[in-house]
Amino acid sequence: MNTVTVPATLEEATFDVLIEALSGVGEDGAVLDARRLRWVDPFGMVGLLAAGAVAARSGKRPHLILPETGDVISYLGRMEFFQHAAKIFTLHGGVGRHSGETWSDVLLEITPVQSHEDVHAVVDRVHARASLILSRQLNYPLREAFQFSVILSEVCQNIIEHSGAGGWVATQTYNWARRLGRKVVVIGVMDLGLGFKGSLASAHAARYADRWSDSAALQAAFVEGVTRFHDPGRGQGLQQIRRVVGRWGGRVSIRSGTARVADVPEWDDSPALEENLPVFPGAQICIVLPARASEDGGSSSADSGPSGRSVAR
């Protein structure tokens, strides 16, 4: 078996490192070594599940060596990571890990999304919590906080309508003291389906001819609101997500295949378009919603996890 070292920080910015390492794994199967993992956000968590699911396509069940840090194990437990990971990986380590225990500071535990009923369940589960956290901790007016559930609903429906496969969603609040001086909400959504290029190919590839690529498909969907449906009512979800997230000064990015496209706010310096990334199936969406500027979340000098603990970065 080939060992893949999980980065010490696992979030959108380091996800490609994990995929790159995973791409070198042959048919012997993979061992994902997460012992050094010190920080993981919702995108990183669902990314780890997705990486495991892709590794399992070799026909060999992948192994996951769990983190050594108690705080990370505890957090993964609160996010219900283990119950999903156990379906994909053979798990090793992680002494004292939680299973199925829910904690009040979690915004939305890792939740599988395979049907429209799951979307209803996500909205029902998260709406009250999200309204409370966004309005009280991130200073959003209540009417704006309500839009969070709408964003989540649309982004989950994107999995069902376009991927042809199931996926996961998770979301959590953090104090990005060092990066932004504010609290943020991070939403991670992933599927392992067709990806944007595959989903849009039958309706749009011909007019792009040899320019049809992951990047072209992503830009068509993200910027132009193109979908594979002829119904003009379709394709609104992503556009409205972009509009609302933009209004809140947030960041939204979609990675699919070998490309990533993003709406980048002024507080972030990542590129709006990345190409030639390591190939990965499906689509991976990351949304970061910062607290309103009046929020005082920058009292400590390090970014901290959901329970307020400082973490090394």
Binding site: D124, H127, S149, S153, G233
Partner: protein, 199 residues
């Protein structure tokens, strides 16, 4: 006076209707299938009436309304009854519309080039969606007057008689107002609603 044909009012509590139509415990108006089920339920009830109806889409108990559901339950509903293929005659007024509903409703209406009369909490009656300035001005005047012809509307606006006549005709064609039996006067849907309440 009353419009060309008797108008029967019918109220749809969307929050209650979703529970009946989708046969689930979910109360939020999210997802496209939920919106489709709502639309079909509304169409079915309108069809059973067998006469022209003023349909009140009540959002008061709706907490979350997403774009996909709004597209199916609102935009496609309005679109259907504006199309020549419609199987019944219906006017629509949205009630109990809060700011967080308004964003989704307006987005889907604009997407299809549609408009809808709505009673927005804290703002009163307005037209949501796509409507040019002159018909919008005429709609406001008609809403204030209750029922009126082009001459009356022209007196309260800067549009002039001919442009008022055209604007009112557009409002009637788009079912944002109803034409009276004499064919020359129009009634605001808000006035129609008030008249029905007072009965």
């Amino acid at each position: 006076m009353s419009p060309e044909r008797p108008v029967v009012p019918i109220r749809f509590d969307l929050s209650a209707l979703v529970r009946r139509q989708v046969a689930s415990l979910y109360s939020h108006l999210v997802t496209r299938p939920t919106g489709q089920a709502l639309r079909l339920g509304i169409q079915s009830q309108i069809g059973e009436l067998g006469s022209v109806c003023l349909s009140i889409l009540d959002f008061e108990q709706v907490v979350v309304l997403d774009y996909s559901c709004a597209d199916e339950a609102v935009a496609k509903l309005i679109q259907y009854y504006a199309s020549p293929d419609r199987t019944a005659e219906a006017y629509f007024v949205a009630q109990g519309v809060d700011e967080h509903h308004r964003e989704a409703i307006e987005a889907v209406l604009f997407r299809h080039g549609l408009a809808l009369v709505a009673d927005v909490l804290g703002h009163g009656f307005t037209v949501l969606g796509e409507l040019d300035e002159e018909p919008r001005v005429a709609w406001r005047a008609l809403h204030e007057l209750g029922e009126a012809g082009p001459a009356q509307v022209a007196r309260t606006t800067d549009l002039g008689h001919e442009r008022c006549a055209a604007a009112l005709e557009e409002l009637a064609a788009r079912r944002l107002a109803a034409r009276m039996p004499d064919g020359r006067r129009y009634i605001a849907l808000s006035a129609l609603l008030r008249a029905r309440r007072e009965r």
